[in-house]
C-alpha cells in the first residue's frame, strides 16, 4: 500500500526531472556560425509597389526602391554613405590634380544576366544616358551635381570621366549611387518611364516575376562575380497594411518585413517565437518645409522663431515613444558622415522675443499674434495615410499655439498632397526624409534649390565654394559651414529622426547586415563576402554567444540539479503526508 503510493506520487516528479535533464542534455552547441548560412528561399514582405525595378521605376511613397534596384543592378563603387570608397564593379579610380577628370578601371569578370559581357562601353553609355535622357531619382548626379561632361571608354575596362567643375566625391558618391545599365538593351529604349520589361543587370539577383501591386520574385544569379548569393530565391509579397504585415511576420508566414517596426509593437513582436529585432541604421526624418513665398513665412526671423517654438523632445517622447532622436537644424541625418552637429534650441520665450522684435505680436489680446493686421494662422498639409505625421502635426499645432501662432493641420490623400506640394499650394508641409535626401551632400545641394527653394546670400557664396572644392576635405568643410548657416536661417524644420528597427525571423535567416543609410534589406545581406568588404558584422555574428559558453552551461546544470533536488524533497513530503493520511484511514 505504502509502496504503491510512493511510486504513484513520485512518478510525475521523476518524469519532470528526467524530462528537464533530457532537454538540457540534448540542446545543441550553438554559436560559431562563421560560415554564411545557405538558404533556399526567403519571403520578405514589402510595403509598396516600386514598379519593375529599373532606375526609372521609382514611385512614391519613399521606401526601399534603391535597395531593390540594387538587387538587380550594380554600381561601380559601394555605397554613397561610406567614409571611404569601396570598389565594386570598378577596381580602382584615380583623379587628376584638380579632380576634374577621373580614370576608372573596371573588373573584367562581370557578365550581364543575359550572358553578354559587361564592358566600359556600358558604363560610358549609362552616364551619357543619365545626363541627356529623361530624369529619374539618380540622373541629377550626372546632369547637375556634379555635371559629368563626358564618360569615355578608353578600352574594355577603362573609363575616363570628365566633370565640368571639380568633382572630388565622384568615386565616393556619384559612382557609388548610379546603377549601370546594359547598353545593348537600353540603347533601344525610347521612353524609359514606360519601359515595362523585366530588368537585366549585373546584380546578384534576377527579377523573374513582377505582378503589379502584388509581388516580386527574385532568383539568385549563380554566375555573380562575387560568387553565388546565400539565398536561392526571394519571394516578395507587397503588403501595404502594417497590421497584416507584422501579423504575417509574427505567424512565421514571412521571414522579415521591410517596414520598420513601429515603437508600440516592438515589445510584443520581440516576444514572438524566433522573431528578433535589429536597428537597421537607415536614415529617416520628418521635416516641415516652409513656403517662403507666403507671408509671414517670407520673413527669416519668423521662420527661425517658428523652428524655435517646437519642442522636439516632446515629439520624440510622445509620437515615437522615445525611439528616435530630436531633429537638428543641420537637416542632414546625424549618422551621415557629412553631418555637422548643432543644438536645436527649443526656447519658446526667445521665439516670442524674436517675434515681438519682428513686429509680429498679439495686439488684440486674443492669444494669436498679428502680422500686418492679420492674425497669424498657418495651415500644414500632411498625408492622410500616415497617422504618425498626423499626430505630429497635432502636437506641433499645440506647441505653436503656446507662442501665439495658429497652426491648422489638414490631412490630404497622397495624390492631392503631392499635387499641392508640387504646386507650392501650402504654407507648411510635412515631408519624410529619405537616406538619399538627408545623407548625401550632392543631393543636399540639389535639394536646397529644387525642393527647399532656399535663398540666402551667404549660401550662394558657399555653394560656389563647394563647386570649386577640389578635395573631399574641402567639400566637407564647406558642407559643414552651410549647415551652420541653417541655425540662423533654417531651410526646413527637421522635427525628429525616427529609429529604424527591423524584425526578422532568426530561425530562417540571420545573414542580415545593417548598413548605414540602407537598413538590412539589400543585396549585401545576401553576398557572403559583403560583411568583410563593408566591415560590418551580420546579425548572426553579432548575436553569437560569447566564449564563456561552458561556464554558462555549468550554471545551467547547477540550476537544474538544484531544481530536481527541491522537487524530490517536495515529492517526499507529499508522499509522507499522503501515506500518513492513508494509515489513519486504515485505522478507522
Amino acid at each position: 500500500m505504502v509502496r504503491g503510493a510512493l511510486e504513484q506520487s513520485l512518478r510525475p516528479v521523476l518524469v519532470c526531472v528526467l524530462g528537464l535533464l533530457m532537454v538540457v542534455g540534448s540542446s545543441p552547441a550553438t554559436g560559431g556560425a562563421q560560415q554564411p548560412q545557405q538558404v533556399e528561399r526567403l519571403t520578405i514582405a514589402t510595403e509598396a509597389d516600386k514598379g519593375n525595378l529599373t532606375p526609372y521605376s521609382f514611385r512614391p511613397p519613399p521606401g526601399i526602391h534603391s535597395e531593390l534596384v540594387g538587387l538587380v543592378y550594380d554600381t561601380l563603387f559601394l555605397h554613397p554613405y561610406t567614409e571611404e570608397p569601396i570598389p565594386w564593379l570598378a577596381t580602382e579610380a584615380s583623379p587628376n590634380a584638380d579632380a576634374t577628370s577621373w580614370t576608372v578601371t573596371l573588373r573584367d569578370d562581370v557578365t550581364w544576366h543575359d550572358g553578354e559581357e559587361f564592358t566600359a562601353e556600358d558604363v560610358a553609355f549609362t552616364y551619357d544616358y543619365y545626363r541627356d535622357g529623361p530624369p529619374n531619382r539618380y540622373t541629377h548626379h550626372a546632369s547637375d551635381v556634379p555635371v559629368v561632361e563626358s564618360a569615355e571608354a578608353l578600352d574594355a575596362t577603362t573609363v575616363e570621366f570628365t566633370c565640368e567643375q571639380p568633382c572630388p566625391t565622384l568615386d565616393l558618391i556619384t559612382l557609388a549611387d548610379l546603377p549601370i545599365l546594359p547598353q545593348h538593351i537600353w540603347e533601344d529604349v525610347e521612353d524609359p518611364q514606360t519601359y515595362t520589361d523585366l530588368p537585366v543587370g549585373t546584380g546578384p539577383y534576377r527579377l523573374t516575376e513582377y505582378v503589379e501591386d502584388q509581388s516580386y520574385r527574385f532568383e539568385a544569379n549563380e554566375d555573380y562575380f562575387l560568387g553565388p548569393p546565400t539565398v536561392g530565391e526571394i519571394e516578395m509579397p507587397i503588403v501595404p497594411d502594417p497590421s497584416s504585415m507584422f501579423l504575417a511576420l509574427q505567424n512565421g508566414q514571412v521571414d522579415t518585413a521591410t517596414r520598420p517596426v513601429p515603437p508600440e509593437l516592438q515589445e510584443s513582436l520581440g516576444e514572438a517565437r524566433d522573431v528578433e529585432l535589429v536597428e537597421g541604421k537607415r536614415f529617416a526624418s520628418i521635416f516641415y518645409r516652409f513656403n517662403a513665398e507666403s507671408p509671414p513665412l517670407d520673413q527669416q526671423e519668423f521662420r527661425r522663431a517658428l523652428d524655435m517654438a517646437v519642442d522636439r523632445q516632446e515629439l520624440v517622447d510622445t509620437v515615437l515613444l522615445g525611439n528616435g532622436r530630436t531633429g537638428s537644424p543641420s537637416f542632414m541625418h546625424p549618422d551621415s558622415r557629412w553631418f555637422e552637429p548643432q543644438d536645436a534650441a527649443f526656447d519658446p520665450e526667445q521665439a516670442g522675443v524674436i517675434l515681438d522684435g519682428a513686429g509680429i505680436s498679439d495686439s488684440d489680446g486674443d492669444g494669436i499674434r498679428e502680422y500686418e493686421g492679420e492674425p497669424v494662422s498657418l495651415s500644414i498639409i500632411v498625408s492622410a495615410n500616415d497617422p504618425l505625421q498626423i499626430r505630429t502635426a497635432e502636437l506641433v499645432a499645440q506647441q505653436l499655439g503656446e507662442v501665439g501662432i495658429e497652426l491648422l493641420p489638414e490631412s490630404l490623400d497622397p495624390g492631392t498632397l503631392s499635387q499641392r506640394q508640387n504646386a507650392l499650394d501650402f504654407e507648411l508641409s510635412s515631408f519624410q526624409g529619405v537616406p538619399h535626401l538627408i545623407g548625401d551632400p550632392t543631393q543636399m545641394i540639389e535639394s536646397l534649390e529644387s525642393l527647399l527653394v532656399y535663398s540666402n546670400p551667404e549660401y550662394e557664396g558657399l555653394r560656389e565654394e563647394w563647386f570649386q572644392s577640389t578635395s573631399v576635405e574641402q567639400q566637407d568643410e564647406t558642407m559643414r559651414e552651410i549647415q551652420r548657416l541653417f541655425v540662423e536661417d533654417p531651410p526646413a524644420s527637421t522635427l525628429y529622426y525616427p529609429d529604424t528597427t527591423y524584425a526578422y525571423n532568426s530561425s530562417t535567416y540571420d545573414g542580415w547586415i545593417p548598413v548605414e543609410g540602407h537598413g538590412i534589406h539589400h543585396k549585401w545581406s545576401f553576398i557572403p563576402e559583403a560583411p568583410e568588404l563593408l566591415g560590418i558584422e551580420t546579425v548572426a555574428q553579432r548575436t553569437a554567444p560569447p566564449e564563456e559558453e561552458t561556464g554558462g552551461r555549468t550554471t545551467l546544470y547547477a540550476v537544474v540539479v538544484a531544481g530536481a533536488v527541491v522537487l524530490l524533497v517536495l515529492g517526499y513530503f507529499l508522499l509522507r503526508r499522503r501515506s500518513a493520511r492513508g494509515s489513519d484511514e486504515d485505522q478507522i
Binding site: S243, Q250, P262, E264, L321, A384, P387, R391, E394, L412
Partner: protein
C-alpha cells in the same frame, strides 16, 4: 420580441447615446483633446479604457465621439429623407414624364457601386464633416424615394385624393395636404433606416482615414487603433472593442426603431392581428379602413 417592445428597446439605447452626446463635457472624465497620461497606457482607475497613441483618454474620446456620429446620422438622414420624400411624392403623384425622369435618376443612383464611389468622392472633395454629410446624403436618398413613390402610387388613387382633385385643389396642395400625411409613417421608417446607414458609412470612411482625422469619431478612434497596431497587441480590448460596440449598439437601436415603425406602416409584418392589441389605437393602419369604406 414584438415590434413595439423592440421599438422601446431601440429608443432607450438611442436615448442613452443622445444623453451621452449632449452631456459629454459633464460625463467625460477628461478632456479628450488633452494628453492626460502616457501614450498607450493600459486601463487604470483614472482611465478605465486606457489611453490612445498620444495619451488621450479613450473613454472621454468615446463619449465625445458620439456627438459627431449622431450628428452625421441625423443630419444626413434628414437630407436624404427630405430629398427622397420629395422625389418619391412628386414622381408618384404626377406620374408621366416627370416620374420617368426622376425614377431613371433613382435607377442610376441605385446602380452605383456604393462604397467605392463614396471613397472616391470623399478623397476628391476633401476631408471635412460637411462634405461627408453631403456625400452620404446625396447617395442614399434613392432607396427611400423608390419606396415612398410606390406607396404614393396607391394613395393617389384613393377616394379623398380623387375628391380633392375633383374639387379643383392644386397639385401642390394635394401633395402636401393629402399625400404627405398618408406616407409619413413610411417616411419616418425610412428616416431611421438612412440614419442607420449613414452612421455605418461615416464610421467606415473614418476607419479608412477618409474623413477628417482631427475630429473625434468612433471610426477615427478605430483608424488610429488600427494604424498604431492595436490589433496586434492587447490594446484591442480597450481600444478597438468599445468603439466597435458603440457603433453596433447605435446601429441596432436604429434597426429596432425601424422595425417597429415599419410594422406600424405595413400590417402584414405584424405577428398578431390588430384586434388583439386594442390599446395601440393610434397606430391603426389607414389603408385597411380606406379599403373597407370603398
Amino acid at each position: 420580441m414584438s415590434g413595439t417592445r423592440m421599438g422601446r428597446v431601440g429608443a432607450t439605447i438611442l436615448l442613452l447615446f443622445v444623453v451621452a452626446a449632449v452631456f459629454a463635457p459633464i460625463l467625460a472624465p477628461h478632456d479628450p483633446a488633452l494628453r492626460t497620461t502616457q501614450p498607450f497606457a493600459a486601463p487604470s482607475f483614472a482611465h478605465p479604457l486606457g489611453a490612445n497613441d498620444v495619451g488621450q483618454d479613450i473613454l472621454s474620446e468615446l463619449i465625445f465621439a458620439s456627438r459627431l456620429s449622431l450628428t452625421v446620422g441625423f443630419v444626413t438622414a434628414c437630407l436624404a429623407t427630405i430629398l427622397g420624400a420629395a422625389v418619391g411624392i412628386v414622381g408618384g403623384y404626377l406620374r408621366g414624364p416627370v416620374d420617368t425622369v426622376l425614377m431613371r435618376g433613382v435607377d442610376v443612383i441605385l446602380s452605383l457601386p456604393f462604397l467605392p464611389l463614396m471613397i472616391v468622392l470623399a478623397a476628391f472633395l476633401g476631408q471635412n464633416t460637411t462634405n461627408l454629410i453631403l456625400v452620404i446624403g446625396l447617395l442614399i436618398w434613392a432607396r427611400p424615394a423608390r419606396l415612398i413613390r410606390s406607396q404614393v402610387l396607391s394613395v393617389r388613387e384613393s377616394g379623398h385624393v380623387q375628391a380633392a382633385r375633383a374639387m379643383g385643389a392644386t397639385h401642390g396642395y394635394v401633395m402636401v395636404r393629402h399625400v404627405l400625411p398618408r406616407v409619413t409613417p413610411l417616411v419616418a421608417a425610412q428616416f431611421v433606416r438612412t440614419a442607420n446607414v449613414s452612421i455605418m458609412l461615416e464610421a467606415s470612411l473614418a476607419f479608412l482615414g477618409l474623413s477628417d482625422p482631427f475630429q473625434k469619431s468612433w471610426g477615427a478612434i478605430l483608424f488610429y487603433a488600427n494604424a498604431r497596431s492595436a490589433f496586434l497587441t492587447d490594446a484591442w480590448l480597450w481600444w478597438v472593442l468599445p468603439p466597435g460596440l458603440c457603433i453596433a449598439a447605435v446601429v441596432v437601436s436604429f434597426a429596432f426603431l425601424g422595425y417597429a415603425l415599419e410594422e406600424r406602416v405595413d400590417p402584414r409584418l405584424r405577428s398578431t392581428l390588430p384586434t388583439s392589441e386594442p390599446s395601440s389605437g393610434s397606430g391603426t393602419p389607414m389603408p385597411v379602413r380606406e379599403d373597407a369604406l370603398r
